[in-house]
Amino acid sequence: MNATNDFPFLLGLAAFLFSIGALGVLIRRNPIVVFMCIELMLNAVNIVFVSYGRYLNSEEGQVFAFMVIVVAAAEVVVGLALITQVFRLGRELDVDDLDEMSK
């Protein structure tokens, strides 16, 4: 594999995945799916970091990707706990129902 030739393709792939994720956050209503879309966005960014790291021959990109993975895991822990909490109060899992304050 030649990193230089594949590079535009990798960047395009990452941008594509990122867009799917962003679009999903905007149109999906189930908080768990929204959350998955956010994860997709973060992992698309990881592709950018790793491929730039390879392209530039620098380690910073690879290390950054590790940091993102760790932080994403921490965010999932808190996120799923919150979603469970909302569910246990007997709510439907739909982000459109979270409109207590705009009523």
């Binding site: 990122f18 994720g21 962003a22 956050v25 908080p31 929204v34 959350f35 956010i38 966005m41 973060l42 698309a44 960014v45 950018v48 970091f49 730039y52 392209y55 530039l56 620098s58 910073e60 990109g61 290390v63 950054f64 940091m67 993102v68 932080v71 921490a74 965010e75 808190v78 996120g79 919150l82 979603i83 909490q85 909302v86 109060l89 709510r91 982000v95 979270l98 409109d99 207590e100 304050m101 705009s102």
Partner: protein, 502 residues
């Protein structure tokens, strides 16, 4: 002038002195987690006292650092800046945290939310904010933002049985994660196009690039700005703010409305003014920041007109204030930075005061944040009403309060940089803001009629009174003895890292 790149050296033990305030606070956070296990329900107040001790120790080391950081330098191979700018921001964050810790126990007890985790999470968030203030590498900026955000997600959902609180936490979490995605994509593109993650090296790479600006780099800068604009709640990235501020427990709102904004502005100034200030790049991002600043001033002030909850009102007012502080970033001058710093100090003391009043007034099981619940406050609690009026006047920008000089300085910085339209937008929108601030103030001095409910406001505890006295005095000191804080802000701007860009 050329950007100064710090030499790459292996971290030594001495480097820890550069992050001592953060280390102390992080230690307090871990210790509190342990102490919570051995503290009984009745003695949870002691945890607050312990947290206050940790904050005081951290503040002490910040002050020591202020005198020690005469020659600013980076520690840990350039990833953390040890300069007076970071320490100034640290001081604002630590004072705000201490004030919030003082009003918290009474409020949490009354609302039945007194759990020990509260204090550890507050300290964790404050640690993240302080790291953010000093961060001088994209990686550290990202980690610090997530440290403070994750702690705040939990805190805003702290009222476990209340749907409003869940809704706040959920919105904050989902939109915060969304914004983190943009922030990260921006960082990835900046890293890719400059080849570096450290701010000083990015600044140098931009200077070497000369007049050619890569579109991917500009996309990266724009995305990074979106991510940070979310944290400072600037329009059009502000939609979460009123809901989260209203739904979160009031003591948490007090904390995050002030400290998050201060910390995020610190990194915004460090990144945009002092790293991306290179002329060719600046000419492009200036346009985005310019419009976000105007949009925030307009949206914040206009939307605040039709609110009926004080927490929401202060949320929208915070959006507008973000617009004013952004003026200090757009103008790209040392004067602008000093004006922003002054504004942040004024904003912190005034906003903590205003939210503290709402926190102190909270009833058993419910927040007293509707306009109705403030009617006639002045006749039952004259001192609290007087303090609240002072804060509202300061937010509106009346002399002789902190808010007047804060606004005056940012507008002066705009005019000094030949950005007169920006100053005019600012002045016009402040004029609008006077209307809604005074409306709340007048309500407190209106006697309720017979058919209106009489609210049972809580008694002000000693700690609550002390917070109001401190913030009230601070609001007046920043409005009367202006040179005092101005001199400190000037020293903070002088020697900010990365050096040599503007």
């Amino acid at each position: 002038m050329l950007a100064v790149i710090p030499p790459l050296v292996t971290p030594s033990g001495v480097d820890i002195l550069g992050i001592l305030p953060e280390v102390i606070l992080a230690g307090g956070f871990v210790a509190l987690l342990m102490l919570d296990l051995v503290t009984s329900q009745a003695h949870r107040g002691r945890l607050a006292a312990f947290a206050l001790v940790a904050v005081a120790a951290s503040f002490g080391s910040t002050v020591w650092g202020w005198f020690d950081a005469g020659t600013p330098h980076t520690v840990y191979s350039g990833s953390f800046a040890y300069d007076r700018f970071g320490l100034f921001i640290n001081a604002i964050i630590l004072i705000s945290t201490a004030l919030v810790l003082m009003i918290s126990p009474q409020y949490l007890n009354r609302r039945g939310l007194h759990y020990g985790e509260y204090y550890s999470l507050i300290l964790a968030a404050a640690t993240g904010m302080m790291i953010l203030a000093g961060a001088s590498s994209l990686m550290v900026i990202f980690l610090a933002i997530e440290l403070l955000s994750i702690a705040l997600y939990i805190l805003s959902g702290f009222s476990r049985t209340e749907p409003r609180s869940h809704e706040a936490a959920m919105k904050y979490l989902l939109l915060g994660g969304f914004a983190s995605g943009f922030l990260l994509f921006g960082m990835a593109l900046i890293y890719g196009e400059t080849g570096h993650t450290q701010l000083a090296q990015i600044a140098a790479a931009l200077q070497n690039a000369g007049n050619s600006v890569d579109p991917l780099l500009m996309a990266g800068i724009a995305l990074l700005f979106v991510g940070l604009a979310f944290k400072i709640s600037a329009a059009p990235f502000h939609t979460w703010t009123p809901d989260v501020y209203q739904g979160a427990p009031t003591s948490v709102t007090t904390f995050m409305s002030v400290t998050t904004k201060v910390a995020a502005f610190a990194t915004l100034i460090r990144v945009f003014t002092y790293t991306l200030g290179e002329t060719t790049v600046y000419d492009r991002w200036k346009i985005i920041v310019y419009f976000v600043a105007i949009a925030s001033m307009v949206v914040g002030n206009v939307a605040a007109l039709r609110q009926n909850s004080v927490k929401r009102l202060l949320g929208y007012s915070g959006i507008a204030q973000a617009g004013y502080i952004l003026i200090g970033v757009v103008v790209l001058s040392p004067l602008g930075t000093i004006a922003s710093l002054y504004y942040l100090a004024a904003y912190a003391v005034t906003n903590i005061g205003a939210f503290a009043v709402i926190t102190i007034m909270a009833g058993r099981g419910e927040d007293m944040d509707s306009y109705d619940s403030l009617r006639g406050l002045a006749f039952r609690r004259p001192y609290v009403a007087a303090a609240m009026s002072l804060f509202l006047l300061s937010l509106g920008g009346f002399p002789p309060t902190a808010g007047f000089f804060a606004k005056f300085f940012v507008f002066a910085a705009a005019i000094h940089a030949n950005q007169v339209p920006l100053a005019l937008w600012g002045i016009a929108t402040s004029a609008v803001s006077v209307f809604y601030y005074l409306r709340v103030a007048l309500l407190m001095y209106t006697r309720p009629t017979a058919d209106q409910p009489v609210y049972n406001w809580s008694r002000t505890s000693f700690a609550g009174g002390a917070v109001l006295v401190f913030t009230g005095a601070g609001t007046l000191v920043l409005g009367i003895f202006v040179t005092l804080v101005w001199t400190i802000a000037m020293a903070a701007q002088h020697g900010i890292l990365p050096a040599g860009v503007i």
